[in-house]
Amino acid sequence: MNDKELRRLMNDQLDGVATPEDSETLKRHLAESPEARAKFRELGEVFASLNRVEMVDPPSDLRQNVLRSIRLREAPAQARPGWLATLLGAFQTRPALQYAYPFVAGAGVAIVAFALLTGNARMGPAKAENPFAGTMLPTSDLSDFRRADGREYRLPDGRVSVETLTSEHGLIAKVEAQGTVGTKIEIAYDPASLTAVALRQRHSGGNDLSIALGVFQIELNDRTENQYLLYLARTKPGGSPLRVNVTSGAETYQGELRLGTLQPGD
């Protein structure tokens, strides 16, 4: 019996798929060969070790993160293909981003690392049936970035404006918010083409912030005006628009903002 055939018989026997004839053949060979018995014992130890490996429970927030992320997306049948072609974790620490670093360096601003965010925001369900709303904003002046789009939402007792400002390597989602306590603002970006790299805050009170899987969330805890600049590095050209969802009391406002991807010659 050659080594290959012996190996097959041993594996089949320990794997529980050997035929009675194969089992008998192996049994006879083992009885005759101390070397084969040693090999069989070693292989048995591999099986025993593998059997001792236990399944690990997944992290408790895995399910919640997935469901939170799909909440802002369209139903899958209507979804645009490629939206999640490459989802990069917002807290990913590995240098996988081709453009992130020059982008951040070029921004030249004080930034708050995302590690400071606590992820303690609560999020209400998106109301997909509501029509997009909001009025166009005048051009904003933020050096090094070109305004791509903007929307303003007049709340019953406050306002929220969101702008996209673009540069060569990335863009900024600029959020200004003032409203009643409990107002929620959600900015969903396409993680296939963008990854969050930094956040700058101005006049920010004790609002709850979180970012996970392509969604930046703010829940207002005070009534002063707050400003957030979310820096998003481009990981590939194109990408879906930013989606905005604002919930204030019983009212929900939604909209989309163009990214203003630069074209050759821009």
Binding site: L50, L62, V66
Partner: protein
């Protein structure tokens, strides 16, 4: 979960029912997370990959061919994601050797954990093809036929890979003194 139950959950998920998709996540997250963990070796990476896989599945649910099993489909997404991660990270050697022994438990638990860590380390040192077959056969208990369908290679190839993988694993474990009684 019966096949028809899963069909119902898929239908409802396609209509945008997040709760239904949540049940699919409940059903498959443990296996997929463990596959990812054994493939890439790092729990945080495994968590990220598993989340991405579920989101990709949700996004592309409309393209899922119902003649196939949902698990087979999502598993393929998982393997592709894991392999992409491995190629990106360019680390075929492993090792999150920091995986702790769950020291609070009895001695047997600790010993079991040490064996598990040694397997974990050895797997991470193997090529993805060999790693996959060990995971599928020993951790998910798939049959040769199911593995063949999933990996899209003949059963003969599955068995050959598995035999070689076990041999390599045995050599690695022997070097670490695991399994010697």
């Amino acid at each position: 979960m019966a096949r028809e139950d899963e069909e119902d959950l898929l239908d409802r998920s396609l209509e945008g029912d997040g709760g239904a998709f949540g049940q699919l996540v409940d059903r498959h997250q443990k296996v997929l997370f463990n596959v990812a963990l054994r493939m890439v070796g790092d729990p945080e990476d495994a968590k990220d990959i598993t989340q991405v896989v579920f989101l990709k599945a949700y996004e592309n649910l409309g393209a899922f061919d119902r003649r196939h099993k949902f698990f087979s489909w999502i598993y393929r997404i998982m393997i592709n994601e894991s392999l992409n991660h491995i190629h990106r990270a360019k680390r075929h050697e492993p090792l999150d050797e920091r995986m702790p022994c769950h020291g609070a438990g009895p001695e047997e638990d600790c010993e079991r954990s040490e064996v598990s860590d040694s397997i974990h380390t050895a797997l991470a040192g193997m090529s993805p093809d060999y790693r996959q077959v060990i995971i599928l056969r020993h951790f998910i208990q798939l049959s040769y036929q199911e593995m063949s369908e999933l990996l899209e290679v003949p059963e003969k190839t599955v068995k050959s890979r598995l035999h070689t993988a076990r041999q390599l694993l045995g050599e690695m474990l022997s070097k670490k003194g695991v399994g010697r009684s």
